[in-house]
């Protein structure tokens, strides 16, 4: 046991000596939290709009002003013919072109009916859709003003409540996602690369002639990363609470315990990779394609799983990140107790035992 601690101490020293890596290991979660928290949003703001105004009357000018003043748009340029539309789109200068017909105001007031055309650059389909909706609502508001907001009988009122996240903050969605990704990166990728490195450099042989059992040698390499992972979880939670003002609704203890479990899962994955692979490059490639990509795609945090075709939906079940992600959401965001996450927890436990079992087996065969 004493030798084991000595080994762990040595590994810690190895990890701590590499200051540059440490900066990144602790910097990455911070940078990701800041980017997701403050830079990325699927909301569409400040889209550039081009105007093709055949009318040039008071009504069209008023509407152009309103478009420009709304937070969603800024009028980027005026066009003079339809032929220019394709050109501005191809240069990627604007997202939307608004076309006012001739005699806009006159038709609006006298024949009570007039047509406005909106052309969106749907090379980004989501954005185009949203931009057209925003623009339409500006026109609808104007139309309502013209009709003096008449109140109608037999009205159904709908009161809407947003559960768990009344301000619709996106952090409620991505904080669990960032935790999942970071743990996968550190736990699986860094562990596997660091163990394979010893193999590649030939120093593994030296370690194995020590009086320690091979399994313990390997475990002692995994433990520092486990500690780092845990520190990262704490950093992320602190940032979430104090920087993004996102509460932890459920039990903090349960959340940390589940995180420890998931760290074990990722470590066992890292061990598994390092037991079958011989070069750092292969280990990295393996983790990148085998763990990080699935972690990103199948956790449900960037892409909705329910939209995926059936084979992918089935596949998502064997990706551990999906389960951890749903555990974190349940505890942290919804404030649910252990009884809600028993199934996910058991699945993670099962996966960990399974991966660890294979890893140990492989090690024995190889190192015999």
């Amino acid at each position: 046991m004493k030798t084991f601690f000595a080994f762990i101490q040595k590994e810690f020293r190895h990890v701590l000596r590499d200051k540059r890596s440490l900066v990144i290991l602790f910097g990455l979660p911070v940078v990701m939290m800041i980017l997701f928290g403050f830079a990325l949003s699927s909301e569409v703001k400040n889209s550039n709009v081009a105007i093709l105004d055949y009318a040039q009357d008071d009504a069209s000018r008023l509407l152009i002003d309103r478009i420009d003043q709304s937070q969603y748009f800024s009028v980027h340029q005026k066009l003079h013919s339809e032929a220019e539309i394709e050109q501005v789109f191809r240069k990627g200068q604007v997202r939307l072109v608004v076309i006012f017909p001739q005699h806009f105001q006159q038709d609006l007031l006298h024949s009570n009916h007039v047509q406005v055309r909106l052309v969106g650059d749907a090379s980004d389909p989501n954005t185009s859709n949203i931009v057209i909706n925003y623009a339409s609502s500006i026109f609808r508001d104007y139309q309502n003003e013209l009709s003096n907001n008449k109140k109608l009988p037999y009205s159904i009122e709908t009161e809407t409540r947003m559960l768990y996240n009344p301000q619709l903050k996106s952090s409620y969605n991505f904080v669990p996602g960032v935790m999942t990704l970071i743990l996968m990166l550190l736990g699986a990728m860094m562990t596997s690369v660091s163990i394979v490195k010893e193999k590649e450099m030939g120093t593994m042989e030296i370690l194995l002639v020590s009086p320690m059992r091979p399994l313990l040698v390997v475990l002692s390499k995994a433990i520092p990363y486990m500690v780092l992972c845990f520190i990262d979880v704490v950093i992320i939670l602190l940032l979430a609470v104090f920087l993004l003002e996102m509460p932890i609704r459920g039990s903090l203890f349960l959340l940390l315990a589940e995180s420890l479990l998931f760290i074990l899962t990722t470590l066992s994955l890292g061990l598994l990779v390092s037991s079958v692979v011989d070069s750092q490059q292969t280990a990295m490639f393996f983790s990148l394609v085998g763990f990080l990509m699935p972690a990103l795609v199948f956790s449900g945090f960037m892409f909705p799983i329910e939209n995926m075709p059936l084979p992918l939906r089935i596949m998502s079940n064997i990706v551990p990140t999906k389960w951890y992600y749903s555990i974190v959401r349940a505890i942290m965001v919804k404030g649910l107790g252990f009884s809600y996450v028993i199934k996910q927890t058991l699945i993670l436990v099962g996966m960990t035992v399974f991966f660890l079992g294979i890893a140990i087996r492989k090690f024995k065969i190889r190192l015999a």
């Binding site: 569409v44 090379s123 980004d124 159904i156 947003m162 996106s170 990728m189």
Partner: protein
């Protein structure tokens, strides 16, 4: 020149001997390009809904029927208890609860005012927003029908109407694959280029073979070219492979010219290789290089406009994207693929990429000299 030739021969041989690199070049595009576009459909289609019906009137049933028939909603449960519906939300099985309170129909007809309650699982704000918007829209339609039923007046048409017609150019059918595939191709080239070069050079450092190269009469620029050219070729191979997969699996071909795609890829790759080189001058071990490369990649991709539009970022982040090479390439390759933009349309982006290539490679060479001196 002869030196460079021999060096290239050696590098190529090393690459072809290494199954990992070959796998990375062949497998990465296949897996990434097939799986991600299939998964990356964030159009919100089916929203699960729980109905808490405490009224049991014909109108309540009609409303529920209208919602489920719309195709947007999937009825998960029909119950009388709000508590039970909240439990279903907690389990993550339903997105939306519609509560129809007692006397809904009676109040609507007698008091001219009916009340409904919607509650959405807002953990995913976008989904919640869209779900409630769809539901409100449908309730609005339902309201109009009822009004028409009770008000026998002909439709008064004194209200000025602005009819809005909209057109979606370049992608009328909202095909997400068309949007995602070119973007992922851009990421692919970036990853292959930056990761491989960085790791390759650092591996030589770690194993010590770089010392041997340093004592040969080889010139610095020959050494660097010897490293750049093979990976540049591999990068071009991987973009070609990507284009092939895009066509075979998704039937996506560039609307613009192939020449434009290749011209931009060629210059862009030089910049990306420069990033790889630069990383390798900073890192001493492959582990460090992996981490550095991963860190850069994460920031590049997140700020690259692949998932979220750049113009909705705050000013400081938009400013950062100006220094983000993948942001340009993602934009360019999408523009050429989807809109058929020409080389001259994208000239400013081309100059930016040339600038990046010069900048990163220049920095790498400078930094490299210092360290080995």
């Amino acid at each position: 020149m002869r030196n460079l030739f021999f060096l290239l021969q050696k590098e190529f041989r090393q690459i072809f001997r290494n199954p990992t690199i070959l796998r990375m070049i062949l497998l990465m595009p296949i897996i990434q390009l097939i799986v991600i576009p299939l998964a990356a459909d964030y159009e919100i289609k089916q929203i699960s809904i729980s109905v808490v019906d405490q009224d049991h009137s014909p109108y309540a049933r009609k409303l529920v029927q209208k919602l489920t028939a719309s195709g947007y909603f999937q009825l998960v449960e029909y119950t009388q208890s709000y508590a039970q519906a909240t439990q279903t939300v907690g389990d993550g099985k339903t997105d939306l609860i519609l509560t129809i309170p007692p006397h809904f129909e009676r109040d609507l007809i007698k008091l001219n005012k009916g009340q409904l309650y919607l509650a959405a699982d807002a953990v995913n704000g976008v989904r919640a927003g869209l779900g409630t918007a769809y539901a409100s829209q449908m309730i609005g339609d339902f309201n109009r029908e009822i009004r028409e039923e009770w008000m026998l007046l002909p439709k008064f048409n004194e209200i000025p109407q602005i009819e809005i017609t909209s057109a979606n150019w370049f992608n009328q059918h909202f095909d997400y694959h068309l949007f995602m595939v070119p973007g992922i191709m851009a990421i692919l080239v970036t990853m292959v280029g930056a990761f491989l070069t960085a790791l390759n050079i650092v591996a030589e450092k770690e194993v010590g073979t770089i010392e041997q190269i340093n004592v040969t009469p080889l010139k610095k620029h020959e050494f660097i070219l010897g490293k750049l050219i093979p990976f540049w070729v591999l990068g071009m191979v991987s973009i070609t492979l990507g284009m092939l997969i895009a066509f075979v699996v998704f039937r996506i071909l560039p609307v613009g010219s192939y020449l434009t795609v290749y011209a931009f890829s060629a210059v862009y790759l030089l910049g990306v290789l420069g990033i790889g080189l630069l990383i390798s001058t900073f890192a001493d071990t492959q582990q460090q290089a992996t981490l550095f490369a991963f860190f850069c990649m994460m920031v590049f991709i997140l700020l690259g406009g692949l998932y979220t539009p750049i113009e909705s970022m705050p000013d400081w982040a938009q400013w950062l994207t100006k220094a983000n090479p993948p942001a340009y390439f993602i934009k360019v390759i999408r523009a050429v693929y989807i809109k058929g933009s020409t080389f001259t349309d994208l000239l400013p982006d081309f100059f930016a990429m040339v600038g990046f290539a010069i900048l990163f490679n220049g920095l790498a060479v400078l930094n490299y000299r210092k360290r080995s001196a």
